[in-house]
Symmetry: C2
Subunit: 173 residues, 2 copies
DNA sequence: TCATAGTGAGTGATTACTCACTTTATAATC
DNA sequence: GATTATAAAGTGAGTAATCACTCACTATGA
């Protein structure tokens, strides 16, 4: 991976996240990355290939974020870390997650569900904690934190800390 | 409002909801609506004007949906109706809501927050029910049902009824 | 010396939008 | 009630700009 290749990935990631995939012209990606437009197609084949490369890179980062949750042994810690997940998005990860959320609505074929491993981990945790319906509880919590992630990225929360505290409290944490 | 004008609105709504706003060409809207492309610009000025018309129409429908919740006097009914909201989206409203959600991510300037009246209603309900922090509870629940709406529209729930039942149970309903 | 990295002008297709024009509906006048 | 006037509805070919993408070419490093 050359430096210019990384510049393209970086520029495309930012533009796709802010402007959207369809609304971003490859000419603008090239300009922002400081390369010729032709180079994009030499390296990534076409615009979709460029998106794929970004998505593949993203999948690694997402799996890493979830791995930290899944590796917890204490079921209560699994819940705690899951809930804390959307609230701990750092400034430099912000655009990356915005892109992930955005693409879920923009693309026709959904990039495969990266939540699957987390789901199993949560189901197990709820089961151990004696919840009545662990499967539905896992579904519920995943959707809750997905909603929180969306709200945070769109800046819809007046006070994120209060929401986080309330959520933890609701799960007795 | 002529028949052709309504056809344009209908066709654009469907295409924007499935393909996205930027990815939909006005020529395709015209073709689907069975009118000349020029007519779109005669009636709506430009593509953004067409979107505005759809959005304005949508705002009425959204306010109507919320009004039914807000008019409830019993605080428990306010919560129940709020929770039931995303699960009661009918087939013909499906595309409309999909468009609303999609545009939240696609557009730079957010169409004003239509949840505001619901927020006040929820805050009041939680207050009456003796919840400790009604404002945060309202924020929490709104984000929960927004997340549920998104999940339902993307078909991410294995069993929506179970999620609904669990949610109602969590609020003692 | 040879493969890979990188360029930039050029391609046809498609984009949002315009405009001179025709058709249709409404209503006023004879 | 037929005729006429007029505004609005509707058309479709045309436009400049932009789109994703190509290709003949040069630069560079092993």
């Amino acid at each position: 991976m050359t430096e210019k290749q990384q510049n393209i990935l970086q520029a495309a990631g930012e533009l796709f996240a802010t402007e959207g995939y369809y609304a971003t012209a490859t000419s603008k990606v090239a300009k922002k990355a400081g390369v010729s437009e032709g180079l994009i197609f030499k390296h990534f084949g076409n615009k979709a290939g460029l998106l794929d490369a970004i998505l593949q890179d993203g999948e690694k980062r997402i799996k890493l974020a979830y791995a930290f949750v899944i590796m917890q042994t204490d079921p209560k810690e699994v819940l705690r870390k899951t809930i804390e997940l959307p609230f701990s998005i750092s400034a430099e990860e912000y655009e990356f997650w915005k892109l992930q959320y955005k693409l879920k609505w923009e693309l026709k074929e959904q990039p495969q569900d990266k939540m699957q491993p987390l789901y199993f981990s949560l189901e197990e945790a709820f089961s151990q904690l004696g919840y009545e319906d662990p499967a539905t509880e896992a579904d519920f919590l995943i959707q809750l934190i997905e909603g929180f992630g969306a709200a945070l990225l769109k800046g819809q929360f007046a006070d994120p800390d209060k929401i986080k505290a309330l959520t933890l409290k609701k799960y007795g944490l």
